[in-house]
Amino acid sequence: MATGVLAHDTHGPGGVPHVAPLPPAVGGNETMGSVVDTIGDIATCVKPHPRQWYVAFAFGFTLLGVFGIAVTYLLTIGVGIWGINIPTAWGFAIINFVWWIGIGHAGTLISAILLLLHQRWRTSINRFAEAMTIFAVMCAGMFPLLHMGRPWLFYWLFPAPMNFAMWPQFRSPLAWDVFAVSTYFTVSVVFWYVGLIPDFAVLRESAPTKVQKWVYGLLSLGWRGSAYHWRRYEKVYLILAGISTPLVFSVHSVVSFDFAVAIVPLWHATIFPPFFVIGAIFSGFAMVLVLAIPLRKWYGLENYITDWHIDCCAKFMLATGMMVSYGYFSEFWMGWYSHSEFEWGTNWQRMFGPYGWSYWCLIFCNFIAPQVLWVKKWRMNPLILFLISIIALIGMWFERYVIVITLTREYSPSMWGGYSPTVWDWATFMGTFGLFFTFFMLFVRYVPMISMTEIRELLPKRAGGRDGHAMAEGPP
């Protein structure tokens, strides 16, 4: 049998089945000092950045320029430059909003839920996955803001006392969305920053230049690693993980309520919240892999992001991909089983209507393509996994496209219409990639992209785990 992660069905003494020890979460012969040198020196630029960094940054920065042009033109002319109209009044804005925010969810899942579940393989990918979350939520936030047409009046969304003496309608999912997304962003930043404080303290000491020492010193808030501070810190970190877990589920549930509360056929379904959350995690893991596979190669981080990590992420993708596919099947099934003419009719339009190609696209990307990951040899091949991840990202974008495009085929043919995005829709969407990659590349350059603190915690066998829990036995 292949040396799978949990794949040994041998029996221990006394006939008690035992599982083989997990592969090490940190490979090679890393020591506490070498962890700091490897990861810290990337952030402090002691180690020169690879050429690919400049290419990636230039790519992101160029697209950021496209975003600037698209937004400037939008603010000059108005949202009429987009393809939105009745019946598809939101179009790309909501598709991209849901897509980006979904991508963010894997970051929280990795950093919070896998921490609570004592999954050691989360440690080397949680930092950049959290950064990915923050930047993805920023990109997501752009779309509702820009879609308002007058983004400078965004504060009307909040219950600010103003002279027209009106309040938001708090019973509307759109108002929930404002609170859910802004809370999610704030809590993600807090969680990320709290995790970074001890790492900034490391950089404060190891940075070569005065300016770096000064900046990292300020960012580390004078952290000195006192046992009293650590005890409080670890409690805060654990509780932040604990509250982020329901938070991440609530955010995408609320996003799905934007649809599910409406009475559009196929939207008005109880499966929407879990369906959305799982889809979010699926696309998020795809993005984690799209970022991790090149990063570990460019920076030689194979000892930290080991094959085991990549394997775990691929399995997560396969599992969530199957759950999302179950959602597609369930929508179809409910359309048939409900005997609702409209549910069934809309299903039929979805599959064979004018936008039917997009439905089959999503079935291919999210259901058929990930089946490749069943084969260990293929999912351990970085190139194949990278391509499957890209396909999954495209597929999840099409999922939201298919959902939004449902509006063109509602109850009565008199409500039917069409939707086609304009070049400005595409420019805005592509522009948010610029926003994402620019921020992400700057993060890779100036912030330790792997948590040095948590990696070192894995090194000594007898290290006390978070808040008194002993770490799992086995190699560090």
């Binding site: 609170f179 046992a227 650590w230 509780i239 006390g464």
Partner: protein, 189 residues
């Protein structure tokens, strides 16, 4: 007890170790010897060090629970007051206009109540942590000692503060040296 009347005031003494087990053992010995103003500095959180110092449970859970509950209650009351009392909104069949109108609409207030609770819980965790730890601070006497810079890298440091009633420079230094550290250093104030 300062080393000399006119010399720099002393924050305390520092003993350096290269592994956590030695630090934990040293802290236990110090506590047995009657020292109370002790602290252990480590590159990552080690539960046993906190336990050895007798700081078994932190106050952060209480802080965050209170913060979260206050936030959730405020978010609920804000919605109830804004939509139910100050500017009654009775649209889309979402609330009834009888005496308990606000009560009838309560389930739709829950998402924002939940988010409000999470938000204040997280913020009270961050700011509570900083406030209780006395951070941020730009300087600390320990940063005067070059060896202390390694504590964030791969060193484990024990400090005995000069305010400890049992602190006596020569005796305490000898005692710390008997605990086999890599080095012992004076920490000027």
């Amino acid at each position: 007890m300062s080393p000399e009347p006119n010399g720099p005031k002393l924050f305390g003494l520092l003993a350096e170790y290269d592994n956590p087990d030695a630090l934990v053992a040293a802290i236990k010995r110090c506590r047995e010897a009657g020292y109370t103003k002790l602290d252990g500095y480590t590159p990552y959180g080690i539960a046993e060090v906190g336990d050895a110092l007798g700081f078994v449970k932190s106050e952060m859970a209480t802080v965050m629970l209170c913060g979260g509950l206050i936030g959730a209650a405020s978010a609920f009351c804000m919605q109830w007051w804004a939509n139910g009392i100050d500017y009654k909104l009775n649209i889309a069949g979402r609330a009834s206009l009888n005496t308990f109108e606000w009560l009838y609409g309560w389930p739709s207030y829950i998402p924002i109540t939940f988010e409000g609770g999470i938000l204040t819980c997280a913020l009270s965790g961050l700011f509570g942590l900083l406030a209780i730890c006395g951070l941020p601070r730009l300087h600390h006497p320990l940063f005067n000692v070059p060896a202390f810079a390694n504590v964030v890298r791969d060193r484990f440091v024990l400090t005995v503060e000069a305010t400890d009633p049992k602190f006596d420079l020569p005796a305490t230094r000898d005692f710390l040296l008997s605990l086999q550290p890599l080095s012992v250093a004076e920490v000027p104030e």
